[in-house]
Symmetry: C2
Subunit: 451 residues, 2 copies
Amino acid sequence: MSEREFDVIVIGAGAAGEVCAGRLGERGQAVAIVEDRLVGGECSFFACMPSKALLRPIELTNEARRVPGVTVGDLDPAAVLARRDEVIANLDDTGQVPWLEQRGVALVRGRGRLDGERRVLVGDDVLVARRAVVVATGSSPLVPPIPGLADARPWTNIEATTAQSAPGRLVILGGGVVGVEMAQAWSALGSRVMLVHRGSRLIEREEEFASRQVADGLREGGVEIRLGVSATSVSRNGVVRVSLDDGAALEGDEVLAAFGRRPTTDGIGLETVGLEGGGHLRVDESLRVPGFDWLYAVGDVNGRALLTHMGKYQGRLAADAILGQQVAIRSDGARSPRVIFTDPQVGAVGYTLAAAETDGLPVRAVDVETSGNAGGSFIGRGAAGTARLVIDVNRRVVVGATITGSEVQEALHAATIAVVGEVPLDDLWHAVPSFPTRSELWLRLLEAYGL
Amino acid sequence: MSEREFDVIVIGAGAAGEVCAGRLGERGQAVAIVEDRLVGGECSFFACMPSKALLRPIELTNEARRVPGVTVGDLDPAAVLARRDEVIANLDDTGQVPWLEQRGVALVRGRGRLDGERRVLVGDDVLVARRAVVVATGSSPLVPPIPGLADARPWTNIEATTAQSAPGRLVILGGGVVGVEMAQAWSALGSRVMLVHRGSRLIEREEEFASRQVADGLREGGVEIRLGVSATSVSRNGVVRVSLDDGAALEGDEVLAAFGRRPTTDGIGLETVGLEGGGHLRVDESLRVPGFDWLYAVGDVNGRALLTHMGKYQGRLAADAILGQQVAIRSDGARSPRVIFTDPQVGAVGYTLAAAETDGLPVRAVDVETSGNAGGSFIGRGAAGTARLVIDVNRRVVVGATITGSEVQEALHAATIAVVGEVPLDDLWHAVPSFPTRSELWLRLLEAYGL
């Protein structure tokens, strides 16, 4: 048993923890980061990165088919999977370590648990924090107590992003982001995909047109979608059998449980400082756990916004707070910028129209076709896509934006700057989109509003 | 001879004139628009639109080759040219007319010339404007007095964008936007391209790294580039022979004169109101010709910014000014947003570093690799590309941005909003780019600045 002292100890080396530790290290703090699995976390190995490696060739193949002169053949699943393996470095995290080393961050391999104020146990070793402990333990897949589900060895995000071949038939339970992205990926890679979602529409937090267009896109790709239906039991006997509450049953070779995430707060010693595990570790606007001047939580574990970029953002803010700056999180929660990498893609930031109305904001929405302009002759031609701004009519600023369509992922940041920067409509009117790019959708939207 | 009265008469139905007329028509004005050639103008038929039809399949083929799993073959030049013909509607402008009709704009076919205050002659007909005349006569290719050039029947933008087949050898004189885009297009479509530019680098108004990367891209595509060299004489005898001032000579099947544009101000009756033709028709901040309360000029003819989107922007502003609003042009001149559709593409807005320093601004530039982030694993992987922000260190706002790389055209608008909206750096810091998109280049740039 050894005891070592640092300025800051970060528990969990996923994206949020890494960014926080790296930023503190860059600023001269002595930092330890504790990780019992892969440095880089779920995002690098079992979520964002491998899923995009699977999805990018699909959207690009679809887009190439829309552009005469490009000679494009069928997707090559073996090459897609090989590139995916390259992206996740065959689940070897040594490539992630130099980034920490360059910032002077000490990597401590093992499971970290709190052991009273400013103390973290890793096996028999004790790490003591002079300034702060940052909990960045992330989340794990939620597998609800549907009879037989856990015993049926369901896929979670881990298997869904790292499987070595496409199952013949894949039943997906859950029509949120993971559900729709994996339906897109595996149907294109050769699986017959059946998607079961208890809600009345997919990706329910997004605008209704986004749900509809994503469902249409999946159906065109051969995905069978069942809405308003829940699984009542699951069994595996060679094949997986899923019984539904409408009386039907589905048979698959694999079943993916895509019900969401649960925060990793059990078994990390929260009880040693008088906190309870199980739920989210709630934080205030500076990412600090209320009542503790030395305890922070960033990323999925605090439940604010389960998105890698928001975890990283929180990591930066927490680092600055620990360094004594006044910080306050601004982009947050359901209004965080977000992209769903289906085809069409969905990029959104801020309020949906419904959410703004629920919050009582004086808003008006304007919609245009994403490719309904000269730039759309060249990108996303003929593909489904809608761009919506939700505008606060009193303040004359954009409070929400959703853009769907082919390859909209890089178009979202303009909206993010407009929403977060609260750029007045009259300034946006002078921000002239270049011709002929599809960003002229901004012009069309402002004209639709009456400018 | 007939005489007809309108509220506003617009001379020239290119993009700038159309937008101005359409906006006035939408707001209840009686508007006539006069055009002796194609409604839609150079941009629709001989510039932006056909050039992008030629270029998009090239960049997309290159990008598809970077994404394992996409099966892509060689470019199909016949299909590219057929699609280009579709985009320019085989030079038939009837498809452009309904847009004017829906806005109640009267299209008058013929050459319009001023005939004293508020009067426009079209053949024998007289149009009288109750409120204003808007000159939107555009520009034409500049063919400098190089001995033999005019007689050698050089290509201009017209032939370069509408040719029915790739010449075996194409000599391009001029390394500005038209020169580099057409070098990219025709070399990919099968021509051996030789590009001669008298300056020390291509696209000289842009950042030096942009010039270098575009030159490298062209050279990789087989283009032979000669810098710091001028043509001294040209002759055609079956083939075209171009003599250069370094003593060398080039032989081609065609020669493209890409020296820039001259405003169309001759023969439009400016002398009838006491103005001179030949040069630009200068305007003030509300697009009005100084000294005339009824005369406006929008688009290339006023020389402010020879870009379709800026002409359209000016058209909107002029319409609003005619309707009695106070307007002042804000995005303008060399600092206008702009995209060059080579591979790599160049997107830029506001100042280059050199231009800001020349203007005495207290600036600092930060650079990152465009695809040097997680999103770059999927878009523009391994391709050249640099993102630069030019930041006013006193005001802490971005005054210029240049992004080069694969498919950056839709990424520029975020920078345009940041620059035109003068969004404070501290707000940009909270505008979180989504992971894993390449827009994380914003994060890297702000970190490089020290945020």
